[in-house]
């Protein structure tokens, strides 16, 4: 545990040393803080005032107002909650299903591997967005349905990475050693293999977070995401698109926040991949066996 924490701090320090990832982390921290403490800010995402509808950005309403006179900035801040909660929940679902699937498939490599991977292939055959929409058609439109749909779409990513990593590790000496000491399959998978494949899985979680936010927004944009009046960035773009002539900033500003959030997750994910790749290259040549 202590080792993992030290590795995490060192990783964070290396991320902050570079400009792009540091800026991305700062932006995400701002969005997360705003989402968590939204209740403490003088913002009301639901207060309507028809007289003040579709106002351009001003000193009172920095992002302007929407068609019901609601403050767009307030709705963007509360929309961050919707986005981040969906992303977090979806990553959790995808990891809790995908990682065990990948562990079992990669560890045994027999009929269990073929069976599980064919199921994953079926998930991959339909575009994410269609799969999510079909699922929402069955479950009905709600925040929970959006979260589950986005989560299931993320399962293949985790499963494939866990499987590939386990397949590379399972024949190595330290795994063989645990096996010869009498470690059972469950023990080897959870206590020996899992700790050694955590880094790529963490990267995958971050990559998936950006995909999840995009997918949630896309579903809301299509009108099948989190139902109104709950603020959601995608839903704001959907409505804002109807007022492009009257209030061009309505769709532009929430979209900008959405885009910056996605780009930030993506930048951090790629920076982490680059850092891990470099470690991998440095480590190869030396023994790869021991715990890192």
């Amino acid at each position: 545990m202590k080792e993992a924490l030290a590795a995490l701090t060192s990783l964070l320090r290396r991320l902050l040393a570079r400009r792009g990832p540091a800026l991305s982390l700062a932006f995400l921290a701002l969005v997360a803080l705003a989402a968590i403490f939204a209740g403490l800010l003088p913002l009301d995402p639901l207060a309507q005032s028809i007289a003040d509808s579709l106002k351009p950005p001003s000193a009172e309403a920095w992002f302007g107002t929407d068609e019901l006179g609601r403050d767009i900035l307030s709705r963007v801040v509360y929309g961050a909650r919707t986005s981040l909660v969906t992303a977090f929940g979806a990553v959790l679902i995808a990891a809790l299903v995908g990682i065990p699937v990948g562990l079992v498939a990669g560890f045994y490599g027999d009929w269990r591997d073929s069976l599980l991977m064919r199921c994953i292939d079926v998930l991959l055959a339909l575009p994410n967005i269609l799969f999510a929409m079909a699922l929402i058609a069955v479950l009905g439109r709600s925040q929970g349905a959006a979260l589950i749909a986005v989560g299931i779409a993320g399962i293949p990513g985790f499963a494939r990475i866990a499987r590939a990593q386990v397949m590379a590790l399972r024949q190595l000496d330290f795994v063989m050693a645990v096996r010869s000491f009498g470690g059972g399959p469950g023990y080897i998978m959870l206590r020996t293999l899992l700790p050694n494949i955590l880094s790529p899985l963490v990267v995958q979680a971050i990559v998936l977070a950006s995909i999840a936010i995009l997918l949630e927004a896309a579903l809301a944009f299509l009108g099948v995401g989190v139902p109104p009046p709950t603020p959601s960035w995608g839903e704001m773009l959907r409505t804002g698109k109807s007022y492009l002539y009257e209030a061009p900033t309505y769709a532009v500003l929430p979209g900008l926040v959405l885009t910056l959030t996605i780009l930030s997750f993506d930048t951090i994910g790629r920076a982490l991949t680059a850092i891990l790749d470099r470690d991998e290259t440095n480590a190869s040549g030396a023994t790869i066996g021991g715990r890192r």
Binding site: P127, A134, V138, G223, V224, L244, V252, R270
Partner: protein, 315 residues
């Protein structure tokens, strides 16, 4: 080769069978299901019973599925619950629109993506490479529906050059009108794909450039342009074809968001309409057609492989 294609086509059948059954089962798992849609919201218990009996929903699900499958095999996917038109006819109207948009988007992506990838792969880690890699990241990260809105704001609202809503005009009927309608959606999708292509082609160009045969070619005194254009390009093309094929397959149903931005009458939007109005026969038909198209394009990609790389042989 013929035997291989036939075997691949035969392998598609069980997948389609399982997928169609899964969709069928999912639809029938919905509370109320198709009965609720046909009978209407305020239906009395008698009306519901009448609909259930008349449409055969009281039979076991397997029997209903076998019935549907039997008719689907003869090309009869049933009628849309709302428009009462044939499902196959509705899909047939949308498929050419989707294909035209997908092809146009791939074309835009190739025109942007290939030069970007080659320029950055020639000098990896130069300022140009970093700039162009930044472009790829941006192209991938910007949601297509936001980019679409920005393009509409610029080209339709501000400049008034192009329409904000796109119609489907067949290219061979009125090329100019078709291009005007296609320009914005194709650009929106194409920019995204150019990011994918840029990233993948750059990576495979760089890894091919380190190969022995490249060093040999240079040692023989082959001009640099020929080394890059003929030797490296040809070998880097293999993974590239996969990506283009996958994108193409993805667009058959996955361009739904872009289609929604520009109210373009593609297959994806037909499916959204079907889902929001719970038009079950239409949902089922759309998803099956999308799956079939996906698998056929994948097969075409594999066959292209053999053509590009003679070392690959299918038996």
């Amino acid at each position: 080769m013929t035997a291989y294609v036939l075997r691949r086509l035969a392998q598609m059948l069980p997948v389609l069978l399982i997928a169609s059954f899964a969709i069928f089962a999912m639809i029938h798992a919905v509370p109320g299901g198709p009965v609720a849609v046909i009978a209407g919201e305020n239906a009395t218990a008698e009306e519901i019973a009448e609909v259930t009996r008349r449409f055969g929903f009281d039979r076991p699900m397997l029997v209903q599925y076998a019935d549907w499958l039997g008719r689907a095999l003869t090309g009869d996917f049933g009628l849309s619950l709302h428009s009462r038109q044939s499902v196959l006819q509705l899909i047939g109207e949308r498929l050419p629109a989707t294909l035209q948009l997908a092809l146009a988007a791939i074309l835009v992506a190739l025109v942007i993506g290939i030069p970007v990838a080659v320029a950055s792969a020639v000098r990896p880690n130069s300022w140009l490479d970093r700039l162009l890699s930044g472009w790829s990241a941006l192209a991938l990260g910007v949601p297509t529906f936001w980019l679409g809105i920005l393009l509409i704001l610029l080209f339709a609202v501000e400049l008034r050059w192009l329409p904000s809503a796109s119609r489907y005009v067949p290219l061979w009927q009125s090329p100019l009108e078709a291009l005007r309608s296609l320009a914005l959606p194709a650009l929106t999708l194409g920019v995204y794909v150019s990011g994918v292509l840029g990233r993948f082609l750059r990576a495979s160009l760089i890894s091919e450039a380190r190969a022995d045969y490249v060093r040999t070619a240079r040692a023989k005194g082959v001009p640099e342009q020929r080394v890059v254009g003929l030797h490296i390009m040809r070998n880097a093309l293999l993974p590239f074809v996969t990506i283009v094929g996958l994108m193409m397959a993805h667009f058959i149903g996955g361009a739904v968001v872009t289609e929604a931005v520009f109210t373009y009458p593609g297959l994806g939007r037909l499916l959204i309409q079907a889902i929001t109005t719970r038009d079950y026969p239409l949902i089922q038909g759309c998803i099956l057609v999308i799956l079939i198209a996906y698998m056929l394009i994948n097969l075409a990609v594999d066959m292209l492989y053999a053509w590009i790389d003679p070392r690959i042989e299918y038996r």
